[in-house]
Every structure is written in structure tokens, then in C-alpha cells.
Assembly symmetry: D2
Homo-oligomer: 321 residues x 4
């Protein structure tokens, strides 16, 4: 059994991670740290777990762990790693943005299995991708692999409210967000940096822009991203490329029909739908931002690091409705 620890255990991504780890056949959840909830039952912060665990939040991480998931939020993981409370022998999977950009100051591998599976298997430290970044990259990786990103890429995408985390804010107030729509950080979203880094990894002459308009949706879970650019390839040629690229990636499916967010909510799957209209290839992708976009992908990375089948503990029932 893999002994797992979680830091920042009271938030949304930690909650989802704990839900998955508690049912994972090869994992024993040893220690969940939350300063704000220390000594309380996990079920106080995550009441849906009632009946599934009697654990209490720790104030400090148990040293008897094989893997530690960092869920404390952007800007805090670096401090946690440097402070030294994590056993040297433990693998680290960080869900924040802190180590996603390659850099001589750290040895974290960017944890998108569909891009870096072999490196992940050998890694000690994993930087789990951003939710928008995951979905957008999945729509574009095969094109980058084929060197077909020859002009700016345009991306329309929408996210559920859980992407904004647990702290209540103006834009996650129900009275505001319900029955509403808005955009934010258009053309400047911070996930662009990791997206471009990955595209250049596959197509190193990629020097165009990714023009990304993120929307806030009136829903809780899920991301949809629609990416388009010009291409001379036919739809069937491109479809073949996508099929081949993702052929042994167990969570990525090409759909024959248009996709919607709820088809994958609750699961670690990504569905992709390809269209060609007026010379543009348009790829629509959907994921659950908390699962494939965060905690499910973190477990997928853990599975790879520990030599397990990539899907272990991740055959989850979709919600559909």
C-alpha cells in the first residue's frame, strides 16, 4: 500500500483528492494536514465523507508517507517544500502553479501524462497542471506533435465555479454568479505560460500566440475549451492524428458527436470533438476541472510514479445529470 499525505486538506482540490484516495485500492491515507481545521474530523470540512473515514486533520504531516500531495494553493507550495517538513524519501505531487514552469531552480516534472508519461514514471517531484491548461493542451497536443501550429490559436473556454476555490468572493457569490455569464483575464490568463511551454516541447518552432478568452460559467464543475486555427489538412487526416496520438492514453476519447461538460463531470476522462469549418480545424474538449483538471490527474500521476496501472482508483461513475 502507498502511504499518502495531503497538505492543505480543507480546500476543494484536497477534498476531491481525499474522496478518490479513500476508494483507491492501493492507497492508505495516513495524514491530512490543515492548520485551519487541526484536530477536527475530516468530515467537518468534507461532510460528504461521513461514513468513509474517521481521520482527523493533523497540524503537521506524518513522516510515515510515501507520497505527499500539496493542495495549499498557489504560492504556498514552494514554502512547504523548502521548510522541510516533508520526508526526503516521499514523492511530491504539487497541485499549485509553483513548479509548473521549467526552471533550473527545481526538478519538478510537468505532470500531464498525455505529454510526459515516461518522465513522470521516473520522477520524484511532479507539478500537476492547471485545469484550463489541461483541457486546452489536450485539444492541441496532437497538432503540435505534427508541427501544424502554424498560426495563432484561438481558444474560447468556460469554467465552473469550483475552479475559483473555497474562499467566498464576489464572483463566487451565488446571488451574482447564478444565471449569469462573464469573462475574466482575457488574453492574459496565467495558464498561457504552461500551455505554450508544452506546445513548444512538441513543436519547438511554435512562436505564435494562444489567444484565450476564459469565461465564468453558471455551473460548479467542469471546463469546456474550444480551440481553432487554420489548417490545410482534412478533417479525417487530423482525426487520424488525434486517434494515434491518444491511442494508449486511457482517459482521452474522441467523440463522434458534439460534447458537453456533464458528459465527463465526476470522471477523470477528457472527451474531444473535432470539426472542420471554412478552413479552420476546431477542437472542443471537456474535462471535470476538479478531477482530470486537478485531483484525478494528481492520482493518475501518482499511479505512474508508483508503477501502477494508470487508471487504478480512477474508474469513476460520471454524473451525466
Amino acid at each position: 500500500m502507498i502511504k499518502a499525505g495531503v497538505m492543505g486538506g480543507a480546500g476543494y482540490t484536497a477534498g476531491e483528492l481525499i474522496r478518490i484516495l479513500l476508494h483507491h485500492p492501493e492507497v492508505e491515507l495516513k495524514s491530512v494536514v490543515s492548520r485551519s481545521h487541526e484536530r477536527e474530523f475530516l468530515t467537518k470540512a468534507h461532510p460528504d465523507l461521513t461514513g468513509e473515514t474517521d481521520l482527523k486533520f493533523d497540524s503537521d504531516l506524518s513522516q510515515d508517507v510515501d507520497v505527499v500531495f500539496l493542495c495549499s494553493g498557489h504560492g504556498k507550495s514552494k514554502g512547504l517544500v523548502e521548510k522541510g517538513g516533508i520526508p526526503d524519501s516521499a514523492k511530491i505531487i504539487d497541485l499549485s502553479t509553483d513548479f509548473r514552469h521549467k526552471d533550473s531552480s527545481h526538478d519538478f516534472i510537468y505532470g500531464l501524462p498525455e505529454l510526459n508519461r515516461e518522465e513522470i514514471k521516473k520522477a520524484d517531484h511532479i507539478a500537476n497542471p492547471g485545469c484550463f491548461a489541461t483541457c486546452i493542451q489536450l485539444t492541441l497536443l496532437p497538432l503540435a506533435h505534427a508541427g501544424l501550429l502554424s498560426e495563432d490559436v484561438h481558444v474560447t473556454a468556460i469554467t465552473g465555479s469550483t475552479g475559483a476555490g473555497q474562499n467566498p468572493t464576489e464572483t463566487t457569490h451565488f446571488s451574482w454568479r447564478s444565471n449569469n455569464a462573464s469573462i475574466y483575464k482575457p488574453l492574459t490568463h496565467r495558464h498561457l505560460k504552461e500551455i505554450k511551454q508544452s506546445l513548444r516541447q512538441l513543436q519547438n518552432d511554435f512562436n505564435n500566440e494562444v489567444l484565450f478568452i476564459p469565461m465564468r460559467g453558471a455551473f460548479t464543475r467542469g471546463i469546456l475549451a474550444a480551440s481553432y486555427l487554420s489548417t490545410k489538412k482534412s478533417l479525417s487526416e487530423i482525426t487520424s492524428m488525434y486517434q494515434e496520438f491518444y491511442t494508449d492514453h486511457p482517459f482521452i476519447y474522441l467523440s463522434k458527436d458534439p460534447v458537453d461538460v456533464k458528459q465527463v463531470v465526476g470522471t477523470n476522462k477528457a472527451f474531444l470533438f473535432l470539426q472542420k469549418e471554412n478552413g479552420k480545424i476546431l477542437i472542443t474538449g471537456v474535462i471535470d476541472n476538479l478531477v482530470k483538471g486537478a485531483s484525478g490527474q494528481a492520482v493518475q500521476n501518482m499511479n505512474l510514479v508508483f508503477g501502477l496501472d494508470e487508471t487504478t482508483g480512477l474508474t469513476l461513475k460520471s454524473m451525466a445529470f
Copy 2:
């Protein structure tokens, strides 16, 4: 023109009040006080008002007002009245719970026009009813008037999130409230006191309970309340009583079909639907909690106090969808 002031001007009920007052043909909005937003434009707190007003929030109330609406929230109105910043000549309409219960310490009239219209016309100080209280009373007043509340009354009701105000909380977080349902303060809601006070005003031997289960709905605006008790009267007898009781009350309508919240959202109307099943009379009422349940009713009271037609400025388009 009636010169109006608003205190606590940045919150939800104040926003809705300002929306109505700006279009009211007999009102000039003179002064909107908000300590948290002083010197900012009203449109900063209420961006939908862009193009309708150039007013800025005041830090202190203008003394050139004929009427002042207190929207600072429960527990704060008493202090505002005592502190002495309100001109003696100004009428006061308080939207909080502070003066709703009759009491020798104050002279506020309970501002439910369907109960107290004549007293309101002569009043200087009005205590505007609570939102749940308004809706539930409207379902029961004719029965109390006829002395028919001879046993416990059971009330199921549900409210939109705006009833919980602007401060973000756990139960108004979109990620929690969306697609969810819950109950709160069952059998102990604080509006019960004003409801019973009104029922006893009409039927002074009423000594039974009002058993009230309030729900939080996954919607923003509106209240639905369904009240039932046993009766030997026929449905048509009771329907006649309701028609007669509300005959000259311009905002109350008896519906021939079952009602839903969105039929009245955006308006100052209340719709009532009567049924009799297995010896029980069941009355379902719907209102917009921010309009008939708060700011619209406050304007209705103002109209009465200043001798205007009760509906002035209150013929509002419903949303329907």
C-alpha cells in the same frame, strides 16, 4: 416631489430600492449613505444603474429629505434612529427587523398594507415586514380575519439567495448552493414572531402554532410559501373570503392555476393559489423577496404615507424567465 434618502445604500435591498426610486415619478433621490463606499459613485456598488444616476454615496445623510429608508440591516436601525442624524420632520421606513414587534418603546407601524393600510397612511414611522413574513401572512390573513385559524398552521417555504444578503457566506457560495437544497432554522425562524403578531391582530384568540420549515433554494430571487390547516369550509367559500379580503389591494391576485416564483419575480405582486385536499385548505403564495418582500413594499408604504396611489412607481415588468 418627495425627497428621499437611503441609509445602508450598498446592500441588496438598498440597490433594489434605488432601482425603483430612480424611476418613481414622484420621487427625487437626494442622498444615499454608505460608510463603506462613501464618495464612490452609486454605480460602483450597483453597476446595473449605469446611465440612470450620477449620484455618489454620502458619508452623512442630507437633511433635505422627506423620507428616509433604513437598509443597514438587522440590529442597526435602532442605533441610527437614536443617534439623531435623521431630520425630525422626515418619515422613516425601516427595512430591518428592529421595530417590527409592537412595543411601548417605539411608535413604528407594521408596514404590511394588506393588514394595516389605514394606520400606515397616518404613520410617521414604518417597520417594513420581513420577506418570509410577508408571503406567509398573505397566505393566511383572510383566514385569520374570518377567525378560521382553529388549529396549528403548517408552512413549507423556500427562499432565493438574495434573502441572505450581500456578504458572502458558506451558504451563499455558488459552489455550495447551486444545484443544492437545504433547510435552516426549522420551527424557529425569527419571522414567526411578526407573523403571529399579525394573525392575533385579526383573530385575537389565535393561540396555535405556526410550524414553519424554511428552505434555501437554488435560485436568487423569490419566495414561495405553502400554508395548510384543516377547515370545514368549502373551497369556494374560502375563495370568496380571499377575493373579498384582497378586493381593493392592487398587488394581490388569486390565480386559477398553480403558481411559481418566476411569475412574480421583478414585480411587487403576490399571487395566491387555493386548493382543498382531504379536508385541508392549502394556500400557496409567491412574491419577489426583494420587491414585495422588501424594497417594493417599502415604496408601497411610502406611497401610502404621502397620499399617493399605492401603485405609483410600482408597475414593474415581470421577468417570467
Copy 3:
């Protein structure tokens, strides 16, 4: 492996059932019948299943099945059973209302495991309870068992839209139902009959009414029911009764805090919360109407019938958000 068949396979409860059966470790899904979709892939009607099954809908049920689930809807199961397309040796689990009421014309056992577990284990034919009926009974069974239902019981409950099925109607039109609230069939809901039947099974002198106000909620999945009546027992006495009654029922949990629907959505769990206020005991229960209220409970019944652990294939991740 248990070979399973599903009739009426394109609807909501069938979809949820298939989602569960495909991951069930002891089940092989052999045949899914849908006249409207015959020869199409299951994924055409249930696109979220992409990647999980290559089955197509059958026009007639395979005879090589050990259990058949009837999901064709109320009023159709009797015909299916009489028509004779189901192998005699196959167990039948009916999700409609057709066989829920005890009656000399049939031998179906009412499939609420928390009431009838031992009978279910020996049954060939199971009538799966209604969704509201499941939730409401779970709030009341221990009281009936203790003979404490000594007066009318009042029930406020709210349901998600999936309870109304797949055919689009006025009340499931998004433009109408979103951001709305309404009640329907107050005091006359058809689940009352099966509820009373069960209460009398435990407390055979129960002759009072169950006064039930059902609401349509602006959410998709889940039911909340709050039941109350007078009692002289203390809260702790009643809590003990509930703990004892449900002690070996693996899906029923008493919560220490108020409950909401999303705590159980996606799972087969029911959470109950007990309060005592002003002499009334109030029990709030929450379930997922499609899981514990339908397809999950059907699988729970199948597990019992085939001698499996009751929770096999039903340790599902909750959605929480």
C-alpha cells in the same frame, strides 16, 4: 458473474443503472433493450459512457440473463412481465410503481433493504421503491418501529428535475425551471400509498395521515425530505433509536450537522439529521434520487438477492459540488 439485462434502457434510471452495472465487479451486462434506440450504441443515448462499453441496444431481451431490471416507466412493467419475454429463471427488479403495493395479484417484495432485507434476500421479484418514498421512509422507519407515530406526520420535500424523467415537459424546460420554485400534487402524491404501507408494516396501528408537500427544485439530482411530528421522547432517546435501527445498514448515516442534498449526490448513501424543537421531532433526510432513490437501490437489492455484500459496486464517489 451475474448476467444482467435492462429493459427501457434509454431513460434516466436505466442510464444510471448501466453506469453502476458496468463498474460492478460481479456483473456482466448482457442485454439492454430499447425499442426507440434499437441497434444504436448505448453511447448514443448515454454519451458519457463513451469508452466504457461497446454494447448496442437490443430490440428483444437476451434470454441469457440472471436478472432483469425494468426501467420502462410506470404502467409498463406489468405488461412486460405478462408478455413473457423474460426468462422464468431470471430475477426481476422493477423500478416502476407497478408492483409496489402489496396485493394478491403478484409476489413482488417491496425492495427497501432498510425495511425488508431478509425478505429481499429470498425474493425472486423486487419492486424498487419510489424516490420520494425512499427518502421519506428513511426519516420515519425507526419511529414507526418504536410505535411512536401517534399523530399526523408532516413532510416537506424537494426533488431534482431528473425525477421527472427524460421526456421534456413544461416543468422540466430549463427556461421555466431554472431559478424557480413550485409545488405539485400537494397532499396527494402517489408515493403516499407505499409510504403508509411501510409505516403500517412496522406500526400496524398507524392510522394517521402523512401530509406531504412536494416541491420542484431548481436542481437536477437529489431529494431532501423533512418530516416532523410531536413526541415526548427526548432527542437523545430518539437518536439512540435511529442509531440502533440503522446500525447494520451500510448506506444510512446520522449526521451531526444539518444536511444538504449535494452531500450524497452521486452516492447510494442517505444522511439523516435529527432535531427537536418545541416538542416536535424533525428528521431531515437526503438521498440522490437516481441512486438510492432508484438505480443504486436496485443494485443494492440485486446484491442482496444474489448473496453479495450489500455494498458491492456501490462505493461511489460523492460529487460534493
Copy 4:
């Protein structure tokens, strides 16, 4: 008083039109035609109108009308006009797509007041613009006017469900649409034709593409459109152009802060927000699809045709929440 008739009176746009016309100080609603509801009260189809009108649906249009609004839906208006039931003297305002594209076969003026106000004033026949088309054009007209559309324009937009009309469909089923997101008709939406027609009217060398990704939102009312393209002009130069272009258009406002749909829901306003990022000008616009995107704009056009102030009957309270 202007005597008004409405054909296709039971649908969403007709309902919204009737709501506005009943409160319009210069209009008498004479005749509302609906074949499906003939002789029923208007309140049967539009229950929110209870208390506002005693009209019944006509089977044939009254001939005593000065203006007729055609709300029967796309493809039906041509037949209604040709069939000859509309008095020759009556002005016609068509809310369908049938006459939006200029064409020698008809004399309808494209009824976007911000583009064609003077022509509308003189017109007998008006083709009311599409909802997406209205919002997208408002984001782009000043740029076209200045000849600055020198490359492809990219548009991300999202619509509420009421845009899909009253007939329940798969994509307007609450169980599907709630808490969901999807795109439809990407790059091929039929409103592109009228959008390009208008852009060419102002900038006749415009030969680039409008690349438009429409989304279905989990909300009922409203449209948000975000349009971008490269420009060398500064943000302040472009802001000045927009201010000048819309200076005497009473429903169009430039917002100082990012906009969201609910700021304008319930009103005939459009809010625009301008940003410049990385060499791209991005203009976000929001409207209520049923008001400025349909029935409110139809009344705005009627006001112009009959020489009234453009805002008559259109100073509507926003919903905000």
C-alpha cells in the same frame, strides 16, 4: 394611442413584447393572435400577466391596428405577410430572420437603431435583428465606422436558454442544460450573414471573416459577446470613437469595469467594456436577449417609426440578481 397587434402571441418573444406594450404609455394592445391558444386568456400562456390584462387570444388579427409585430418564428413571417391578413396601412415589425438580409424582393429596413435610426424612422416595414447579431454588432459598429476592421474578427459569445424558444428540446431540458456548458454551430451561426451585412454597410471594404463560437449557457436570459482583433490604435483613441459613435444612442453605455449579463437583464440597455491587451482590442458587450435582443428593440423601433422618444415605455428596472 398606437393600436398594436401581435401575431404568434404565445411564444417567448411575444410574451416579453406584451409585457412591455401593456405598460407603454402610448400603446393600446388591440389584438394578440395565437392559433394554438385561440379564445384562451393571454394569462393562460403568460400567467405572470395576471392582473394586467383581460385580453384573449384572437384567431385572426384585428384590422384596427396601426402596427403589427410578427413573432411566429423563423420562416413563418414571409407567409404571414404574403397571405394578406395584415392591413396595408399597418406598420410591420418582424422579429424573425425572414427579412433581415437586404434583397430586392422586400422593402424591410434592418431595425438596429444604432445603425439605421434615420431609415427606421421613415420605414413601414422593419426587420428586427437577431439577438446574437445585435450584441455582436454593438461591439463592432464603431470600429467598422472608422474602417478599422482590417483583419478577421474573433467572437466568443454565450446565450441564455430563452434564445432557443419555448418548444422543449434536448438542449433546453433542465436536467441536461443546468450546470452544463456546450457550444453549437461554431463558425457557421446564421446570424453571421446579418452581422457582415451591417459591417459592410459601414466599412464597405470589409472582406474578412467573423469567427464566431456560440455557447449555450446555464442561464435563462442574456447574451455576452466578446470580440477582438488587432489594432494599432490606443485604447483611449478607440474609447473615444465608441463614446462618439454611441453618444446620442440612449441604450448603449460604456462601462468602466468588466461587465456581466445580469447588469442588463430585464432592460433594453447594452453595456460595452473595452480593453487592449497585447495589441488586440477586445470589446465585451452584454444585452438581455429577449429585450434589446428581441422585443425591447422591436418597441424601440416602433417608437422611432411613430415619432416617439426612442426610450418611451423602455425605462425598465434591471434585475441585477
